[in-house]
């Protein structure tokens, strides 16, 4: 007994330490993106150098298409992207968890949810975002955020429902049903506490997905409009000058990649079961 228990405890300890490191690594770029504006050496919209100037002088990463400081715009450009992605992830995870819990307790409702998700999967999420955001031009970033929430929920519900359906047949849930507890009580007090790890993983994956969808929309110039500094918009705006100052395009691209990759690693590390089958991305 003790010979097998010891390595297992050790492994659990190293696993925990590794997770802490991974979460810290993911938190660092996130924190930098959110507090970036405090460190920006220049203002957002004043030209400090020649258009597409190479790095040097007052601008560490050179100038963009109007000669504005790329580094300052980079430090400003993450706040809203990360902020809206966080909002999307929180709202999608919360609503999907609630809907998913009810769906497994009410089979008729569950089937309806399933059919809706089946239909939604036929619409590529980017197509859906274009549809909603461009047809509602005054909506701007809010429209993109709303669309990302609406399009993200069906998939997230399926994941929660898949994780919750074995729980719905568990003895303690059946006991609660025979006790005559309400659906809301069973969902919140019996099922939800056992879904913690699924919900945490879901939140991480939804965040990565939200960064993905919102930045793709930003790149297509849906959402944030030109004077704003937004990483995806910077990539789009400066793409014509990539020959002159590649950093104006590369720096925001790498920033998006860094955030997406670190958060995704932290999420995967948090997942109790590494089987990717439950991790359906829209």
């Amino acid at each position: 007994m003790s010979t097998t228990a010891l390595p297992q405890a050790e492994r659990r300890a190293t696993h925990k330490a590794r997770n802490t490191v991974l979460i810290a690594l993911a938190a660092l770029p996130l924190l930098l993106a959110l507090t970036g504006p405090l460190f920006a050496p220049h203002t957002l919209d004043t030209p400090v150098t020649a258009p597409y100037a190479t790095p040097g002088g007052g601008a560490a990463l050179g100038g963009d298409q109007l000669g504005r400081d790329v580094l300052s715009r980079l430090l400003h450009g993450g706040t809203l992207l990360i902020g809206s992605a966080l909002l999307v992830a929180v709202v999608v995870t919360l609503s999907a968890t609630l809907i998913g819990c009810v769906a497994v307790l009410r089979p008729a409702f569950g089937r309806l949810v399933e059919r809706c998700a089946d239909v939604a999967i036929l619409l590529p999420s980017l197509l859906g975002i274009m549809l909603i955001a461009l047809a509602w031009p005054s909506g701007g970033r809010g429209a993109v955020t709303l669309a990302a929430i609406a399009l993200g929920i069906p998939y997230a519900v399926r994941i929660v429902a898949a994780a919750a359906s074995p729980l719905a047949a568990a003895g303690y849930v059946e006991a609660a049903v025979t006790r005559g507890e309400s659906t809301a009580y069973i969902a919140l007090r019996e099922i939800l506490p056992n879904l913690r790890s699924t919900v945490l993983t879901l939140f991480g994956l939804r965040f990565v997905e939200a960064v993905y969808v919102i930045s793709m929309a930003g790149f297509l110039q849906i959402g944030p409009q030109p004077p704003a500094s937004d990483w995806s918009l910077m990539v789009r705006e400066n793409a014509p000058g990539i020959l002159l100052n590649p950093w104006a395009v590369l720096a925001p691209s790498l920033a998006i990649a860094l955030i997406a990759i670190t958060v995704n690693f932290a999420t995967t590390a948090l997942a109790p079961d590494t089987s990717p089958k439950a991790a359906t991305r829209s």
Partner: protein, 339 residues
């Protein structure tokens, strides 16, 4: 997920085991099953189109005001609204459009062109791009996933796993930018933009390399994880463990015993790639100036051009439905009779 979705698929008549007998009864049963699955997919597509029609209608602004010129009077707008049929009720327009669909007529765009004409040139280009990317990502994912699964827990497995996790988090346009700087600007190996010839096709195949790679890299990350996960599930089954205990070579067990059982899960997982590939194609096409449906679509949404948007959605939805249907059939053929 599987428990939730497999309700209406298994027919009432128990079919004979796979591969046993090819009598007319079995053929009829198979045809019925294929027809049923296809009908279900078609029904979903119709539901999606209804939602798209309604969404465009509910949102502020319409085709007439979106395509208006400066200084047009309200009366002019009303005339055009009438010409475009926008004063008719939504359900009537939807019904007309749906009944014309089976004849291959996708309607007329807000600018008066046939939608099928507008789609004729860019659609094949996007399909070429998407299909090459799809085939490449499936092959790569199978190779990488099997390679990782052959050495479970070893460094190769971990490196492939981590790279896959990193790759699938990165948006296609970010991959494109990195490819563009390395393969085109710094080395000059590939052309940076697509130049279109007189026939509406890219002039040279080298112009396809970077757009395809930009789509393949994130999707391969995704699909490799699916293949690896499905193989891991199979590795835990008794018959695979028995094969290992019998001392069969590792590669033999992996390809002959693990992979066949994993195919249904892989097919279903990989099918979800189609939507992501088509979505990514819209962005990649814009960046590389590739003549596909991406740019056409952006204009169509800005003009509130419902028939054109619906045309693109029906094409995208049909492609995705077809791939999902194939995945359904693969799952049915391998699992259906046992499940």
């Amino acid at each position: 997920m599987a428990a939730l979705s497999r309700t209406a698929e298994t027919g009432p008549v128990p079919a004979p085991a796979v591969g046993a007998g090819t009598g007319p009864r079995r053929a009829a049963h198979l045809a019925l099953r294929v027809a049923g699955a296809a009908a279900r997919r078609a029904l979903m597509l119709v539901a999606l189109l209804a939602v798209v029609f309604a969404a465009v209608e509910v949102l502020p602004g319409d085709a007439a005001s979106a395509s208006s010129e400066r200084g047009e009077s309200a009366a002019d707008l009303d005339t055009r609204r009438h010409l475009l049929g926008l004063d008719r009720p939504l359900w009537e327009r939807f019904f007309d459009w749906m009944t014309a669909l089976p004849t291959g007529d996708l309607g007329t765009s807000a600018r008066g062109q046939k939608v099928t004409d507008l789609l004729a040139d860019p659609l094949p280009n996007t399909l070429v791009l998407g299909l090459s990317a799809f085939v490449l990502t499936v092959v790569l994912a199978l190779v990488l996933g099997c390679w990782a699964a052959a050495r479970p827990g070893r460094p190769t497995d971990r490196v492939i796993g981590h790279s896959a996790t990193a790759a699938f988090a990165v948006p296609e346009f970010v991959v494109s930018v990195v490819l563009l700087t390395t393969l085109s600007l710094w080395t000059g190996w590939l052309p940076a933009v697509t130049v279109t010839g007189g026939d509406g096709r890219p002039v040279s195949w080298t112009m396809l390399v970077m757009p395809v790679l930009a789509l393949v890299i994130p999707q391969t990350g995704w699909n490799t994880r699916i293949v690896r996960g499905a193989l891991a599930d199979q590795a835990a089954t008794p018959h695979v463990e028995a094969a290992h205990l019998d001392g069969l070579p590792l590669a033999h067990v992996l390809l002959r015993h693990q992979l066949p059982g994993a195919i249904p899960a892989i097919a279903t997982g990989v099918a979800t790639s189609t939507g992501m590939l088509l979505g990514g194609a819209i962005v990649v096409e814009t960046l590389f100036n590739y003549p596909g449906i991406g740019s056409l679509l952006a204009g169509a949404v800005a003009n509130r051009d419902t028939p054109l948007i619906a045309g693109v959605v029906v094409c995208a939805g049909a492609v995705i439905s077809l791939v999902l249907l194939t995945a359904d059939l693969i799952r049915n053929a391998t699992l259906g009779d046992r499940a």
